[in-house]
């Protein structure tokens, strides 16, 4: 793994006096996939939104390849051209066909020739199994299909890093894997990514490193093996337990107990 592409140093962000990020630092190296997990409201989406300037930060600094990108107001779009982002609510532009959704950024923001991007777009659609949808309108696609198009749209900008903000949270369960498989493909291709997700098995499969965020601070950081199989903190253990269910055949006595975790 190469040099650090992204460096976040001690960032703070509050909304209406409530601290959402309270001193988060992290680093992502070239080709690395970092998965950020944590209970809802822990600030993980806000962290991604701060990185690409959709939220301003109150304190701290963010660097992209050594260049400070936080705190600037002018030419923010030039920074965003280098950072891809896909959101939870598959936001394709409803008035444009799939192909026009894909071409917009590369041709209008980067000024690349249309024919060249179109060829590349078709190849990428092919790879995600949606070549025949190039001329379809977004509303005719399923949620999973829309989200795959959104991934292609972000990738066509040839970003240096890709931010994925709970991209399967709004999908029906049976569509989750078709989207996540595309992400795993991208990871295999060496794409640098920061991924926020609630899909723990996917996180374990795709991550090089896991960050556990709670109440706006990084509580734990480690390899997926460490984090998922031997979490260091009680909070992380507690969090991971919320994804498993006790079998009804296990014998447990039901009785009031003291909250051991806290």
């Amino acid at each position: 793994m190469g040099e650090a592409i992204l460096r976040v140093r001690d960032i703070h962000k509050s909304f209406d006096g409530t601290g959402v990020l309270r001193g988060v630092s992290m680093e992502i190296r070239e080709g690395e996939v970092v998965v950020i997990v944590g209970p809802s409201g822990c600030g993980k989406s806000t962290l991604l939104r701060c990185i690409n300037g959709l939220e301003t930060i109150d304190r701290g600094e963010i660097f992209l390849r050594g260049e400070k990108i936080s705190g600037r107001r002018k030419d923010l779009h030039l920074v965003r051209q280098r950072i891809g982002m896909v959101f939870q609510s598959y936001d394709l532009f409803p008035h444009m066909k799939v192909m026009d959704n894909l071409l917009l950024g590369p041709t209008k923001a980067l000024g690349r020739p249309r024919a060249e991007v179109e060829k590349e777009a078709l190849e990428m659609l092919e790879r995600v199994g949606l070549r025949e949808k190039a001329c379809a309108l977004p509303r005719t696609l399923s949620g999973g299909q829309k989200q795959r198009v959104a991934l292609v749209r972000a990738m066509l900008m040839r970003p240096e890093i890709l931010l994925l903000d709970e991209i399967t949270a709004a999908l029906d369960p049976e569509m989750v894997s078709e989207v996540l498989n595309v992400v795993i493909d991208l990871a295999r291709g060496g794409m640098t990514m920061a991924i926020v997700t609630h899909e723990m098995r996917f996180a374990e499969a795709v991550a090089d490193r896991v960050l556990f965020l709670e109440e706006g601070v990084v509580l734990e950081e480690g390899t997926p093996e460490e984090f998922f199989h031997a979490p260091k903190t009680e909070r992380a253990r507690h969090f991971l337990q919320s994804f498993t269910y006790a079998s009804k055949r296990d014998k447990v006595e039901i009785q009031p107990k003291n909250n051991a975790g806290d």
Binding site: N52, L54, L76, H77, L78, R80, Q81, R82, I83, G84, M85, F87, S89, D91, L92, F93, P94, H95, L104, G105, K108, A109, L110, A150, R153, A154, M157
Partner: protein, 223 residues
């Protein structure tokens, strides 16, 4: 045929006179629609502005326009302003003022609705693609606003065209007034009224129907 009232429409220049009246109707409507779009855009943006007092003022304007019959407003401006302020407004000017007062509020409300109906995510997705502000407006926000707005704006326009018939009450010689003049000349022809009004009905229909078709077509295409 000679005995039928419809024949009088083809006597002399009667039909041309009707068309002349229709032109007055259309001219009035087009000026009103044009001004309403222009001021409506301002009105819509004012309604979206942060200032509470400005919003309340717009709201009040809109309510007045919705509850007040257009005819009362026409009389108020045409007769009332003449007496009160000594303004000697001719009928057509009064009509443009009243209908624009109405159209601005209605169009502004439509524009406000269209602008607010576009989810914030659309702007964010476009921003995340590295488009600058101008391009976000040009490629994402304005096209989507227009798509939501156009069908409704066209419907409002046909309503404005129809409503201009009221201006005959303040001495503007538009198509309806011309029709009444023709009927008056041929008072001995008992079915003249039926045929003249029937033809006027057809003229209105022919003017408004294409608009309505267009609105329906756009609505379906952009749904």
């Amino acid at each position: 045929m000679q005995d039928l009232g419809i024949g009088i429409l083809f006597k002399g220049v009667n039909f041309q006179r009707l068309l002349g009246g229709l032109w007055v109707t259309l001219r009035l409507a087009l000026i009103t629609i044009g001004l309403s779009c222009l001021f409506g855009l301002l009105f819509g943006m004012l309604m979206l502005s942060g200032k509470r007092i400005v919003k309340a003022f717009c709201r009040l304007w809109l309510e007045i326009v919705r509850f007040m019959p257009q005819l009362v407003l026409l009389y108020l401006v045409y007769f009332g302003f003449a007496r009160l302020f000594g303004w000697d407004l001719d009928g057509e000017t009064s009509a443009v003022i009243v209908f624009t007062f109405w159209g601005t509020a209605e169009m502004g409300d439509l524009i406000r609705g269209a602008l607010t109906s576009i989810p914030r995510h659309q702007t964010e997705s476009a921003a995340a693609l590295g488009l600058n502000k101008a391009r976000i407006y040009l490629h994402i926000l304005i096209p989507q606003t227009l798509r939501r707005l156009l069908p409704q704006a066209i419907n409002l326009s046909t309503r404005i065209i129809k409503t201009t018939a009221l201006v005959k009450m303040i001495n503007v010689t538009e198509v309806l007034k011309v029709g009444q003049q023709i009927i008056g000349q041929f008072y001995r022809q008992p079915d003249a009224a039926f045929w003249v009004y029937f033809v006027i009905f057809l003229l209105y229909f022919l003017v408004c129907w294409p608009f309505s078709l267009l609105a329906r077509h756009l609505e379906k295409r952009w749904a």
